[in-house]
């Protein structure tokens, strides 16, 4: 059995209707799923996972409750716009799919372009305030990868908050790609909840291109999938860009979670802050790879990155690769990484105050995560994320 068998099920006729898709398909075939031999995938072997992926394990989507849609939003089911459940905001529309795959694109981005499916476009004019919108991707009944594309364009000074939820049941492969362009002074708050089924594979790629003094404020909470990866490529193309990119992954059983970030400072006076926390239980494996790149021109850059992991069981594993790549001399860049278990003294302290062991552990883990959740602040999205953390608690039965 080959990991590329699913390609036989693809309707080639529909692919060849679009001139760029065939090229993208060729690019994907040429590259194949990445392995640990790819330096960018040093700790995650997607090809091995795909080789024994059982596409036949069907889920039942009916049981999936939609998250509270008190905001405007779009629901994609297996990558197809679900008109009945969606209430798009005026600036949200269906994306016409036919992306050109540029040289250097990753295999997963090529696969996304090749298979097409629906996408959502969100375009805000200069100064427009978009408020908060939901992007829900539900999956469960697809024999081929689900490959939605999101295109976000914010004009100068425009603002928008996107709450993205990915969920599903059964075995499926979800390969979403985000293309985000922020105009001068624009601000995007991007809160992502990855709560996929535990049989699924989730590989998200987020591209952010930032203009002068633009602000990207992102938070990803990953609790689902058998193998998950959130990959960010953020380019600060204009001066004084500001990036706050946080993530938390909670893993148990045999889950494999990967958070990979590349922050490219390409203009002066930019600032980036990242806090990535991993809580790893069972025989799960967490991965963090983060690179801060500072171009020669990007003087006065302030880059900070912190990644911390809590190992809760003897078989848990964390692999981390925080990189700095710096070509400018007047910069301040630092990264830190810590790995450890829960501190027995802290547990003892709480227990001596009459708190049960399980509660004490939960309390400490929740406290450990707090810093990562900073970008969502006290926004309306918070309950959604708190509930997801609660849900993971119960699954892991700490």
């Amino acid at each position: 059995m080959s990991e590329l068998d699913f390609l036989d099920r693809i309707d080639l006729a529909s692919v060849s209707e679009h001139p760029h898709r065939l090229a993208a398909l060729d690019a994907f075939r040429a590259a194949g799923f990445p392995t640990r031999r790819d330096e960018a995938w040093h700790f995650t072997d997607l090809k091995a996972r795909m080789r024994d992926f059982d596409w036949a394990q069907k889920g039942d989507q009916a049981v999936l409750a939609l998250p509270d849609l008190s905001w405007a939003g779009v629901v994609l089911r297996d990558g197809i716009w679900d008109a009945a459940s969606s209430r798009p905001a005026p600036f949200m529309s269906r994306l016409v799919r036919d992306e050109v795959v540029r040289a250097g694109s990753t295999a997963l981005v090529a696969l996304n372009a090749a298979l097409g499916q629906d996408g959502v476009e969100m375009v805000l004019r200069d100064g427009e305030e978009g408020g908060t919108v939901m992007m829900v991707a539900q999956a469960g009944a697809s024999a081929q990868p689900i490959t939605p594309r999101y295109r976000v364009v914010l004009g100068a000074q425009a603002t928008l908050t996107i709450i993205e939820v990915a969920q599903g049941s059964g075995a499926y492969v979800h390969d979403p790609v985000w293309d985000i362009t922020l105009g001068p002074g624009a601000r995007l708050d991007h809160y992502r909840l990855q709560d996929e089924s535990v049989q699924s594979v989730h590989i998200a790629t987020v591209f952010v291109a930032m203009g002068e003094a633009a602000h990207y404020n992102g938070f990803t909470l990953a609790v689902g999938a058998s193998l998950a990866r959130s990959e960010f490529h953020v380019a600060l193309n204009g001066a004084r860009g500001d990036v706050h990119l946080n993530a938390a992954q909670l893993l148990t059983g045999r889950q494999h979670g990967d958070v990979t970030t590349v922050i490219a400072h390409k203009a002066p006076l930019g600032a980036s802050r990242q806090t990535v926390k991993s809580v790893i239980d069972g025989a799960a494996r967490g991965v963090f790879q983060g690179r801060i790149e500072v171009d020669r021109i990007a003087q006065k850059t302030d880059g900070y990155q912190m990644n911390q992991a809590l190992l809760l069981s003897p078989e848990a594993e964390i692999d981390s690769k925080p990189e700095l790549e710096i070509f400018a001399d007047d910069v301040k860049c630092s990264h830190g990484a810590t790995i450890g278990a829960l501190d027995p003294e802290q547990i003892f302290y709480l227990r001596s105050r009459g708190i049960a062991e399980a509660d004490a552990r939960a309390l400490l883990i929740r406290a450990f995560l707090t810093e990562a959740l900073e970008p969502i602040g006290e926004s309306m999205a918070r309950p959604l994320f708190e509930a997801a953390i609660e849900g993971w608690w119960r699954r892991a039965a700490l």
């Binding site: 330096e39 040093h42 700790f43 020669r296 003087q299 992991a309 190992l311 809760l312 069981s313 003897p314 078989e315 848990a316 594993e317 964390i318 692999d319 981390s320 690769k321 925080p322 990189e323 700095l324 790549e325 710096i326 070509f327 400018a328 001399d329 007047d330 910069v331 301040k332 860049c333 630092s334 990264h335 830190g336 990484a337 810590t338 790995i339 450890g340 278990a341």
Partner: protein
Amino acid sequence: MAAITETRETIDRLAESGYQYGFETAIDMDFAPKGLNEDIVRLISAKKQEPEWLLEWRLKAYRAWLTMADPAWARIVHPRIDYQDLHYYAAPRAPAPKSLDEVDPALLEMYEKLGIPLNERASLAGVAVDAVFDSVSVATTFRDSLAKVGVIFCSISEAVREHPELVRKYLGSVVPAGDNYYAALNSAVFSDGSFVYIPQGVRCPMELSTYFRINARNTGQFERTLIIAEAGASVSYLEGCTAPMRDENQLHAAVVELVAHDEASIKYSTVQNWYPGDADGKGGIYNFVTKRGACRGAKSKISWTQVETGSAITWKYPSCILQGEGSSGSFYSVALTNHRQQADTGTKMIHLAPNTTSTIVSKGISAGHSNNTYRGLVRIMPKARHARNFTQCDSLLIGDQCGAHTVPYIECRNQSAKVEHEATTSKIADDQLFYCRSRGLSEEDSVGLLVNGFCREVLKELPMEFAVEAQKLLAVSLEGSVG
């Protein structure tokens, strides 16, 4: 910023002043023909009158090397190396001398210029020197006083003849013949190097030192060093190098293996000052080195300290395999690159046993158009309960045409382990410069002071004799004000 401009000017001046150790000694050399094949490997082995098992070992390594590709993952750029265009054996023609009187006077003169305490001054300095001139050890001092306490300190070819059982037992046991491309090459054609054996319970009475330089055009030098410390033994080993100036790039692929048994400790210090090439990046040594220590015994200790200022390209990752319970490894490094130099260096700490600890302190300084990369691995295996690692990597940039990179890999498979890593990159702080200036120091002296302070944590790990030389080297490489 005026001070930075001045620093740059100072660097430029130094670049023009040239490499002060750049001279060449004309001595008759006995070359093997250019190129590498099984016959050359056999020739090297035959010239050294090696036993059959060692020839077989070399041939195995050579065959492994043929199947391998040179590593492409490091952040270094160089033209393809034509391995068939190199000499793999060169040795002074006269037979190995028995005492200093027999040593070629031209050679002694060269060591004189380098200030090696090879003759009686060695006694005052308290240093035993195993000087390696290209491929064959020509003189070893203090052999007798070391022999009194049972320490064996000799060239590796001598060790093969006189202590074959020890060499056979340990050679390749830490860095296997086929470990990596350059180690395989070294295993096939290694010329000479040092062998140290410290018997049980012996604290080596003096610091051991090897001083070698590359001489003669087109001879890649393939050093092989093997140090064994038996239970309770301890030794401090110093390695320093300079090389004459030349235009062609030279390949140096050394292998160093350390073995520490129960409660033994080995301290290995390096000051590396090979020819870095000229200001435009022409010439200079390619330094592709595999250094690894095995902490085999409980509570054993291995410590690597390095000051890397030379070579056009440095590819070097002194590592520790922590196999013994409670063993500890440390790595202290200063890597300074200037002009077009490239350094990709760091360490690997592999924690296999419980209660193992490791410390990594790396200071990178980039100036000119150079690129300086720290690349390190900390791996905690499932059995390494309560393992502990602390890593600190700091980079200093001088000028806006250079690059500083940090690529640590951290893999933790034990819950009770504690791993900490921190890294910073910055330039010399304006307020610190201002402070020094306001105390009446010149800008040049201030920069020197601050750079020196930046490296202090590492320099203080060096043995006294070396600390002075290290500061001198930083001065030559950076500017007149340092040290």
